[in-house]
Symmetry: C2
Subunit: 694 residues, 2 copies
């Protein structure tokens, strides 16, 4: 542990969150690394709040809470045994006899005793955190039995952390929370206590896998697979007590870079042997290693195209090496031409993932997960959902979200992403009432690719730069456990944990105020930034703040085509790039026409005149003015509301958020004025309400 | 000397340039460090081309060339003495009895002997380089006597070199020629032979002063004044043999940063004492130290405003400390609000230097030189000449030029700046026929502030990145010696030296081709970039390539206000910012009206409709299209012409230029298409010639 570490914020696990549990008499029954973790957690809570703890006692004790592994045998304790039996009976009833699995648990009340049962230690740990979340309600005698199992087997965070500081991207690519938790200046950061604390927070949210280095793999990072594997093993050791498995981003060119081979051709025998042998050495060192994450043939990263092979060849090469050990390959579908010519209107970056990958459906090995960004372009505040999810039935697809707020305010703006992710997860690509994106990610019998997100965490004392951005991380974990949950309910859960009752605060008032600030903050952010789904309009490079033409003449394939008459990208089949036709018929038809296309993605699919009338009755140009004025007013209201919390919450949190709200007001005003002025100069149409446009 | 230094290009001093001199019998007469330099130069040339050299011989010799200090005494050589007497007689006749001064010389023919006379060793060195430039013509029996003295006493280059690599600006701010000649990664680069070679080139161009570190002075660089003064002294030692004095950019906060004082208030007694004592120590170490260069209260640099003092107080503080030693302060007039609000149309950055400094006229000590950028904004391809030059008659004003091509193609584009500098120097701010900018820089009896330029040199093997950019450096030196010279004549001089006759080339053909490529290259660059003097439209930050709106909503005060109806900045007195009124009456009136304002700066002074008809008969919008199409065609012609030189010149030069011409064609095309598309989208006016606008 380093000295002089600034005090690290407890996030959603403040000691007070354990207040109800900690005052109880608790019996833990079972053995294993994660059972020890449960014991540690319970012991710490009880030491603070006056409770007591026993571990598989050989004498009779009176208890309020039992946390037991089902196979751990009987105890000399009639009351406990009765409670366990009651739990087993309840499980048989509500669980249809299915096992709880590696991570599931049962919660039941039997008279005065609360029982948590699990098949495996990880389940017991998740059960413990469930008791923490429920607080006093876990001990409510009238509580009916509950069975919990994660919908998704793998709930994964990707760290875009560089080991060596990248000359452009720094220590963490798109990181807005200080440095890396794992790395600093080319070496491990050396604070394994912080890594363990991180694992604890993640486990309490539901996350069970992380990749520890950036998908853009440079020379130093490539070595993690071989020479520097020990650094990865140390992280794995620190996270294992919280049930978190470690994955590694690897370079597809590793056989050349590290192995000294002359090729990385996936069909070359020597290359295959190299991956098999290298992977075996990884598992020798880290037996529960998760697998590889690969960004190939994208934005300069090497890949199978170099050898005239396709991405199924590439992914299967690594999958074959991982299969004997139970590992998976996460293969990113983010492949597009990043040297596009803005003059060329026929190429459409939105089409790229579909065009590249759907022909390969069915060709990937079963331990390949194709990791698909939620939208067809790049993590915008609003995009249509990627059509790839409806087009690869024979491939395990993971939904890739971005918790780090690259395009959504960079943790200087409050932008709670839960509602957006909820919309994505509930989107039914085959039409209303059909299967949803959540269903695709879960897959048949849970065989889907799961949820993956680029994390927003760093070595910042608040973990996420903006203290309220912790909610995005927490929400991701909870949605990955149960993608059908209401994100606002999750947000409430986060608030209850993070802002416990205190002597100076009315917890209900705090919660209500936080809801007023956060619930609609994503839509507020959408209002004052790029309009109607057109995307980008951000400052190139750092992606922060407005620059309407910033990407308009660039090589990145991200244009809005605004001229004096109108704005938007024609992606229809009839007259545009044809992207709308990548959807199944229902949506292909809806998106095809500006008459039926939903307002919020109108400019993503159509180039329309400024006078075009939206479904909401406003013209496009008036909508731009109205939403931009409204958005800034809403941010000002946010700031006013936040100020009412002064003195009621942790002052360090209060101050940090207050500072960032000042910046959010400044930046939102800049967005409003630049966007309004830009479109007024182009269209010449005055604001119907005569407000100030510069 | 480091090993493995790539071979450094000889620039305008290839051995062949000495071919005529080197075949002669040469007598050097006099003593001194710079006389030794002359001897070295002559000896090297004669060793190569078969000539002979004597230094103040005590016996009679036959000679073709005498280089003699006037006060060096008689020689036992009747022919030489006769030639010297003839020279003295010629000097008396053409020089009106005035001394030659520290740097002047006389060139005369007496029968078979060419005589160079000088009052001081530096004059002898400049005389030698004149003989080199003249080549065989220096030995033409019919050559009449010539007397040369620099119009400007100080001919200075500013290096924006950082000692430590700056996180944003790198080793050299706005440097496009590799690293620094002086510094690398926080320490001296350690190649004093290269520094000496650099001094030799500069002396042959006429430059006699350089500042060795960036005007943005960070912590490491501040230390050059005190702890690291030895590093500066080493550079001074290496440059002294070529008559080049070293200046230092200092931080106005140095008394606080380095001296541990609590203030840097220029009226504080302790601060004055600190500067006096510190400056004395500088001169103890470097007796011919030139002085200080200061960027104060500008773009984040500290300055007297912090203490409620003005810039005269600030500059005089340093001037007072330097005065006893003969040093000068160069005080930059580049002070403006760099946190401007783009919504605020009343503030005008163009006004800033005038508004800040003209009230101080007459208050600066005589050893203060106010260093004023040629234009009111920032080194654009085209700006009106700064009105400050006509507004401070009681202040020594230096004209600051930018040899490094920050906004003019960054030494990837051929852009010969001589014609532009010529226009600036010949501009008559009080009206046609009146005194010019050159006259102001020269001043009464040579008391003006001289010429200063930000250099384009670095540790690149060609010194300047683009081999043809050497011409800009050479031209600056020659214009600083004689600001009334025709820049194209100087360019011809540079070509003759740099591309000597060879076995494979017709030197006339090479020269003619180079003239075709370079003479009009600045106007070509102007054609394909920002139109009609409006400026900027460059990519923010790196300032390379087009981004029409790149600075439109920024804090830098650089806007074009293009909307669907028109473009340009109203700087008139009647309806605009009033900047036009900063000129004396003649130009104030000319610039005031779009009817009289010259086309090339129309959009600098006026916001006009796209349909506005220029003096050249074209509309603004058609002019934009026409010049942009023409500019690219001209660059393509440049490239074609360059290719005809393949095999005729040094292949490394050929290849480097050929590569950069490919980039220039690409980038010019990008400029054309982005600018044309931008204005077509805004104006909706089609090209009258129906050419392709994307």
């Amino acid at each position: 542990m380093e000295t002089h570490e600034p005090r690290v914020h407890a996030a959603w696990l403040p000691p007070e969150a354990f207040r109800s549990l900690g005052a109880r008499r608790v019996l833990v029954h079972g053995e294993g690394l994660l059972v020890d973790t449960v014991l540690d957690e319970v012991s710490r809570a009880c030491a603070r709040y006056g409770g007591r703890v026993w571990h598989s006692p050989s004498w009779d004790v009176d208890v309020d809470l039992v946390l037991a592994l089902r196979g751990a045998g009987e105890l000399p304790n009639p009351a406990v045994e009765a409670a366990r039996s009651a739990g087993e009976a309840a499980l048989a009833e509500i669980g249809d006899g299915e096992p709880l699995g590696e991570e599931g648990f049962l919660l039941d009340r039997d008279g005065e005793v609360t029982v948590v049962l699990a098949d495996a230690p990880a389940g017991l740990l998740y059960g413990l955190f469930h008791v923490v979340r429920l607080c006093a309600a876990a001990f409510d005698p009238a509580r009916p039995p509950e069975r919990h199992r994660p919908a998704l087997r793998r709930r994964m965070l990707n760290h875009w952390d560089n080991v060596a500081v990248h000359p452009v991207m720094g220590q963490v690519e798109r990181g807005y929370a200080g440095g890396s938790i794992f790395w600093r200046d080319g070496r491990p950061r050396g604070d394994l206590a912080r890594v363990r604390a991180y694992g604890r927070l993640l486990a309490a949210s539901g996350v069970n896998a992380i990749s520890v280095n950036n998908v853009n793999v440079a020379r130093t990072e490539a070595l993690l697979l071989t020479d520097r594997l020990g650094d990865v093993a140390e992280i794995a050791d620190a996270l294992r007590p919280y049930g978190i498995r470690v994955h590694l981003s690897v370079s597809f060119a590793a056989p050349v870079l590290l192995g000294g081979l002359s090729t990385a051709d996936p069909l070359d025998e020597g290359v295959r042997d190299w991956w098999v042998a290298t992977t075996r050495r990884v598992y020798d060192r880290i037996p529960d290693f998760g697998g590889y994450l690969v960004k190939a043939d994208s934005e300069g990263q090497p890949g199978p195209f170099t050898y005239g092979r396709d991405h199924a060849d590439g992914a299967n090469l690594l999958a074959e090496a991982l299969a004997p050990h139970g590992g998976v390959v996460h293969w990113r579908a983010f492949v597009y031409d990043h040297h596009q010519d803005w003059r060329d209107r026929s190429t459409d970056r939105a089409r790229a993932a579909y065009d590249h990958f759907t022909p390969l459906d069915g060709r990937f090995r079963t331990n390949v997960v194709l990791q698909v960004k939620y939208g067809p372009v790049d993590f915008q505040t609003r995009e249509p959902v990627s059509p790839v999810f409806a087009a690869m039935p024979a491939t395990r697809l993971a939904l890739e979200l971005q918790v780090t707020q690259e395009y959504t305010g960079q943790q200087r703006h409050i932008c709670h992403l839960g509602p957006w992710w909820g919309e994505v997860l509930r989107f039914a690509p085959w039409g209303p009432g059909g299967r949803t994106i959540a269903d695709v990610a879960v897959g048949e019998a849970g065989a889907g690719g799961g949820l993956v997100a680029v994390t927003n965490t760093g070595d910042d004392p608040f973990w996420t730069g903006h203290p309220l951005a912790q909610a995005n991380l927490y929400t991701f974990g909870r949605l990955a456990w149960d993608p059908w949950r209401d994100p606002t309910e999750v947000l409430d859960e986060w608030m209850t944990l993070t802002f416990p009752p205190s002597a100076t605060a009315d917890p209900e008032l705090v919660r209500r105020t936080l809801h007023e600030i956060m619930d609609d903050s994503w839509r507020t952010y959408e209002r004052y930034t790029a309009p109607l789904g057109v995307g980008f309009m951000v400052h190139p490079g750092d992606h922060y703040g407005p620059d309407v033409d910033g990407y308009e003449y660039s090589r990145w394939g991200t244009y809005h085509f605004a001229d004096r008459d109108g704005v938007g990208v024609d992606r229809s089949r009839a007259s545009g790039t044809g992207f709308a036709g990548q959807y199944p018929p229902y949506w292909a038809q809806v998106y095809e026409s500006p008459r039926t296309c939903p307002d919020e993605v109108l400019l993503f699919f159509h180039h329309v005149p400024y006078s075009h009338v939206l479904h909401n009755g406003s013209t496009v140009i008036q909508h731009i003015y109205d939403t931009h004025f409204a958005g800034v007013e809403e941010v000002e209201t946010m700031r006013r509301r936040w100020r009412t919390l002064n003195g009621m919450i942790d002052p360090t949190v209060y101050e940090r958020v207050a500072e960032r709200l000042d910046e959010q007001v400044r930046c939102a005003t800049e967005w409003r004025d630049q966007v309004n002025t830009y479109f007024f100069r182009k269209s010449g149409v005055p604001d119907a309400q005569g407000r100030r446009i510069y």
